[in-house]
């Protein structure tokens, strides 16, 4: 076994890759939320000047990647691999977004955990010596996600109190083999966890056990306690899932309550913006990290954080067939220095 693989499911990077730059592109509703000042681009047009919501998502992907690369003083030609994921069928949000770049591309599916997946894999590629620069990105679009997973937008229905609101946004980071901090020091790779939740309107509950599983493995594998991190940020558990996560982890003797935040509860004002349980989607954790957390890490206001994007891995078909909702979460250990 390689020395970089630690314990049950974790990785400790020998040469921790740098998160060189980050860029976040979001839609109008996100631009009205509490994190508005942290995003690089806030579009007032939910279609981003395009014809369809699907094209709009790809446009966000393109813009965020271009911006992150530009901030690093690079061009897309300098990037060895683009790793990106989204929620649309066949990863089309990412695929059409990177189409014009002509660079090596890995399309990832981890539902809303995609940003964690892309950052883990990107860091592994770099620490493995397979390149100098990698793009890790993830996106989602509210309208596209509703169309894919739920009902038409104009249908007059009520949302469940436990339902979440898919973020329209994309977060992209340039990871570099050498560079300034923050650095990706460690990662714990999530397993598919299914505790039998069948309610697609309560995905926080479906995902909380996966987040608990990966966070506990992270602590045990790397011999850490919650107070090692300033912040433990899950992706999109929302209010219901966050409460469940804290309780689940408590049962194993760790208390993360004081350190835990959820991107889904940061990106929107839960009451004023009427998002029920909170924000969700690949873009939720991706844009919150690339906008908000990256700035805090860069300024040194956060020294160490565990970033844990969470994903519900069901499809419309499996739910209709009565299957429960499997979930996954990946933990990325990040430090300013």
């Amino acid at each position: 076994m390689s020395l970089k693989f630690v314990g049950e499911a974790s990785v400790r990077f020998a040469s921790p890759p740098s998160i060189l730059t980050a860029a976040a592109v979001v839609g109008p509703k996100e631009g009205e939320g509490p994190l508005r000042d942290y995003f690089d681009v806030v579009s007032q047009d939910v279609k981003f000047g395009k014809e369809t919501w699907e094209q709009a998502e790809s446009e966000m992907v393109r813009q965020a990647i271009e911006l992150a690369v530009k901030k690093a003083g690079l061009t897309t030609q300098d990037i060895q691999y683009i790793l990106a994921g989204d929620l649309l069928n066949q990863n089309s949000g990412s695929v059409y977004g990177v189409r014009s770049f002509g660079r090596p591309f890995f399309g990832l599916f981890g539902a809303c955990s995609a940003m964690g997946e892309s950052m883990c894999l990107g860091a592994m590629l770099l620490d493995g010596g397979f390149g100098e620069y990698v793009i890790a990105a993830a996106s989602s679009h509210f309208c596209g996600a509703e169309k894919t997973f739920r009902f038409p937008l104009e249908l007059g229905t009520q949302r469940a109190p436990t339902a979440s609101w898919t973020v329209t946004g994309d977060g992209a980071v340039v990871l570099a083999a050498k560079g300034t901090g923050p650095y990706i020091k460690t990662a714990t790779i999530g397993a598919v966890v299914d505790m039998g939740v069948k309610d697609a309107n309560n995905m926080g509950a479906a995902m909380a056990p996966a987040a608990a599983d990966v966070i506990l493995k992270h602590f045990r594998d790397l011999d850490l306690t919650p107070d090692y991190y300033d912040v433990i940020a899950t992706g999109d558990l929302g209010e219901v899932g966050s409460n469940l996560l804290v309780k689940l982890i408590q049962q194993d003797g760790y208390d993360i309550k004081a350190r835990h935040v959820d991107c889904g509860l940061l990106i929107f004002d839960q009451q004023a913006q009427d998002v029920h349980a909170g924000g969700s989607g690949c873009g939720c954790s991706a844009a919150t990290f690339a906008g908000y957390f990256y700035a805090k890490l860069k300024k040194g206001e956060i020294k160490r954080m565990l970033f844990v994007p969470t994903g519900a891995l069901h499809s419309v078909v499996t739910v209709q067939q009565g299957e429960s909702i499997p979930a996954i979460a990946h933990a990325v250990g990040i430090a300013g220095e």
Partner: protein
């Protein structure tokens, strides 16, 4: 932890749907739509239309209104407030046909609008018609229909 214990935890952690408030709102909005229908119906009767024709025209007007409000993005807001109150009347049915038609316009007139238009209303039609057939048969054999 076993799945049942977790299911209990989830239940305790999840806020319940506001059933009472939803029922009250559904009652008044649904009732309001029916009152509007009655007003229209009486008005059409007043113009000298036969009872059956007045009923048909009333339904047509309500459907037209619902489709218009759907296209303007208003019906969605009514539905969010009223729940079943705006789903159950004929206007809700019209909304459930118009909404997917608008949503899937970009996929073309045949595979988009045409194929997806009845994605929500389709089951209602199928089981509604089947139920009417069953009731009709029962009526024919038991109720003395001829």
């Amino acid at each position: 932890m076993d799945k049942q214990t977790y299911a209990d935890m989830v239940k305790a952690a999840s806020p319940p749907t506001a059933v009472f408030g939803n029922c009250v709102r559904a009652f008044f909005v649904g009732g309001g739509i029916c009152v509007l229908g009655q007003v229209l119906h009486d008005a059409f009767l007043g113009t000298g239309l036969a009872r059956d024709d007045a009923g048909l025209v009333t339904a047509a007007v309500l459907i037209l209104l619902a489709v218009l409000l759907t296209a303007l993005g208003v019906y969605e807001k009514i539905g969010k407030f009223a729940g079943a109150g705006s789903i159950v009347p004929i206007t809700g049915f019209a909304n459930s046909v118009a909404a997917p038609a608008i949503e899937h316009k970009k996929e073309g007139l045949v595979l988009g609008v045409g194929a997806k238009m009845f994605v929500i209303a389709g089951p209602v039609l199928i089981y509604g018609i089947m139920a009417s057939v069953v009731v009709g048969l029962v009526y024919y054999f038991v109720g003395g229909g001829s």
